[in-house]
């Protein structure tokens, strides 16, 4: 296998947690809800996904459970921001703490303290017939586990919904001007609620993918800031699902590069190599914030009775 083929083959699965979580963030963000609980939801998703997979013996059930639990947190966020109009950042941070606590509590309660950490089977590669036989492309794109295909399908579906359907247009208008959307009969509260629930669920799934793909075990620090990078990714992609895919490729590429450089031992202390994805993120944000635009009502609650904004 060539160097480039191998790099790309590793990069595609590494994109998945970024893709799922960032598309979830973009989905609720375009309706104006700025979720900042990703890091916590990913940790909780990883813990719940792992535990349910371990107990039920099925990674699919584990994924679904991670989606469901993170969706519940999304529902709380949506209710508190759309109905009670509490500050989105503050509620998001509170949910981040709660999710982090819940993740640790659940793992400790179910597994306890063990000498040998329990393992779950990692996801199997399911090559797509015919397509995976294409030289180079087949190996890179069509020989992965099912969640990889799912993540790309979800990205495509969200893009198609937002840009190719009438209701998607209405949906996007909420993030730009909820008052105008409301006056056209679009249900702002409902759109924000479902998109936050589904979006948070996707973030939870992104977390659950981590223990299922690499090592088959859950460790406390395994999310390692990806939840925060996901927010950077949403900004970087200008809150557009198709550009987010490109951004996810960048973040995943950095991650794989750092890991491979660490293994290869290139003479630089490995700590500096591991800094690479974060330093690159900072540098890229310098440019991203210049050209990328965001929904103009992002992070602001809508009060239909207020005459001040909108």
């Amino acid at each position: 296998m060539g160097e480039i083929t191998e790099f790309l083959t590793l990069m595609i699965p590494a994109m998945v947690p970024f893709l799922l979580a960032a598309q979830g963030t973009v989905l609720s963000g375009r309706a104006g809800v700025f979720n900042v609980s990703q890091e916590g939801l990913m940790v909780l998703g990883a813990a719940v996904g792992f535990l349910v997979s371990f107990k039920a013996g099925s990674n699919t059930v584990g994924m679904a459970a991670a989606f469901a639990i993170a969706g519940v947190f999304g529902l709380v966020l949506a209710y508190m921001t759309t109905q009670l109009r509490l500050d989105q950042f503050v509620v998001g941070l509170a949910l981040y703490f709660a999710a982090l606590g819940a993740a640790g509590l659940l793992y400790r309660e179910v597994i306890g303290i063990t000498m040998e950490p329990p393992l779950i089977p990692t996801l199997e590669d399911k090559p797509i017939p015919l397509l995976s036989d294409i030289p180079f492309l087949g190996e890179v794109l069509f020989d992965h586990d099912l969640v990889v295909y799912l993540a790309f399908a979800i990205s495509l579906a969200i893009w198609w919904f937002m840009y190719k359907t009438r209701s998607g247009l209405a949906f996007r208008s909420i993030g730009e001007n909820p008052k105008a959307a409301d006056s056209l009969g679009i249900n702002v509260t409902w759109a924000r609620t479902w998109s936050t629930v589904v979006g948070s669920g996707l973030v939870g799934m992104a977390g659950a993918y981590l223990p299922m793909v690499y090592t088959g075990l859950y460790t406390e620090g395994m999310v390692a800031g990806r939840g925060w990078l996901v927010i950077a990714l949403a900004f970087l992609g200008g809150w557009r699902p198709h550009l987010v895919v490109a951004g996810a490729a960048f973040f995943a590429g950095m991650e794989v590069l750092a890991l491979r450089a660490q293994v290869a031992g290139i003479g630089i202390p490995h700590q500096f190599v591991l800094m690479l994805p974060y330093v690159a993120t900072l540098l890229v944000m310098v440019f991203a914030f210049r050209w990328a635009r965001q929904p103009s009502f992002l992070g602001r609650n809508y009060d239909r009775e207020s005459r001040l904004v909108g």
Binding site: V36, A98, V286
Partner: protein, 362 residues
């Protein structure tokens, strides 16, 4: 417009005379906290009961550990210092409307700055070395936050993201310092060699002594309160946080102030790192930032803009955190329970605003 500039977040003592009464005002301020804490403990108790443990035994050890023994009290005070300083690191930039999620990184880089001088100049007498260590810590923290401030003011990079990303860079940085620059091979855990005698904060009382960083922190509390209340910069910072557009109309240079808020916050977090080195560990080690970022944010959010409330809330959180360990030992309830209770307190506190508005309207 001047109303919006001066009104929040005024404590009851300075409230205008037209308000109902000072007693009622103080009650409105305190009752939400009491109700939120009680409710959070009730919900937390239900969760503890649900996992088959005794909530009363758990809460007894959470709430009494800090006061039962001298050791518990000292530990609580030692925990209070970094929690409070990280809360300031969050709350000072928040006064200008900026979220600093990077206190952990600023603390670690501050610790690195402190430990560097403590090791390099280890022969100097305390009177010279100790101030140098503390100042180096604060400066290093300020520089680290300064990167985020620079990116924010020059390139409009969102400060939430840059401060978080800098945390992860700092983890690698201290790992490098602890394993390559001044490694302590015998520690069995990435840590630096101990700092010189003169870099250690003197202790008060017999073993276990309380380090004088606690007194230093009390002093800092006063300085910050005076700064925010009595200086024009402090006033401008609060004005920017209260109403950005109004502040701009009045000619306050908002972006520069917001940057300054971040740098000051970073300096305070860096000082926390230096105090941890000089007072608690005597060296820098991985994991020394424990949960201080999260706790600092919780305290900062609970204080809701009041710099005066911070020290008291931070003390309450320190009590819970020290109690958490003993709760796990005596009642077999995982320490994470305390984090859930803290998140619940915060959420109930937010909800109390709505309840209060409803009650006042009726």
């Amino acid at each position: 417009m001047s109303e919006t500039l001066t009104a929040p977040p005024a404590p009851p003592a300075e409230a205008p005379a037209k308000r109902p009464s000072r007693v009622a005002e103080a009650l409105w301020l305190v009752i939400p906290y009491v109700v939120s804490v009680v409710l959070a403990f009730v919900v937390g108790g239900l969760i503890i009961a649900a996992i088959g443990r005794d909530p009363f035994a758990a809460f007894e050890s959470v709430l009494t550990t800090s006061f039962n023994t001298r050791f518990g009290t000292i530990e609580t005070l030692h925990k209070w210092v970094p929690v409070l300083l990280c809360a300031y690191a969050f709350a000072i930039p928040l006064a200008t409307g900026k979220f600093n999620i990077g206190a952990e990184g600023q603390l670690l880089v501050g610790a690195t700055g402190g430990v560097a001088l403590g090791i390099l100049w280890s022969d100097l007498p305390m009177i010279v070395l100790l101030p140098c260590v503390l100042i180096a810590g604060a400066l290093a923290g300020a520089v680290w936050a300064g990167i985020a401030a620079f990116l924010m003011t020059k390139f409009q990079v969102n400060e939430i993201l840059s401060t978080v990303v800098l945390n992860f860079i700092s983890f690698q940085l201290i790992d490098y310092v602890a394993s390559h620059v001044w490694p302590d091979r015998g520690a069995g855990h990435p840590a630096t060699t101990p700092v010189g005698e003169g870099a250690l904060l003197p202790g008060i009382g017999q073993a276990p002594p309380m380090h004088t960083g606690v007194l230093l922190t009390v002093l800092l509390v006063i300085v910050i309160a005076v700064f925010m209340r009595r200086t024009s910069t402090g006033f401008e910072m609060r004005a920017v946080g209260a109403n950005l557009r109004a502040a701009q109309v009045h000619g306050i240079r908002t972006s520069r102030l917001a940057g300054a808020g971040l740098v000051v916050g970073g300096a305070v977090a860096g000082l926390a790192g230096a105090i941890e080195v000089a007072g608690v560990h005597g060296k820098m080690l991985e994991g020394m930032q424990s949960n201080f970022l999260i706790l600092g944010i919780i305290v900062g959010l609970m204080a809701r803009g009041s710099m005066l409330a911070l020290p008291f809330i931070a003390f309450g959180i320190a009590v819970l955190e020290v109690g958490a360990g003993s709760m796990q030992r005596t009642a077999q309830v995982p320490v994470e329970m305390v984090l859930i209770i803290e998140a619940l307190i915060l959420l109930f506190l937010l909800l109390s605003d709505i309840a209060r508005a409803k009650i006042r309207r009726s």
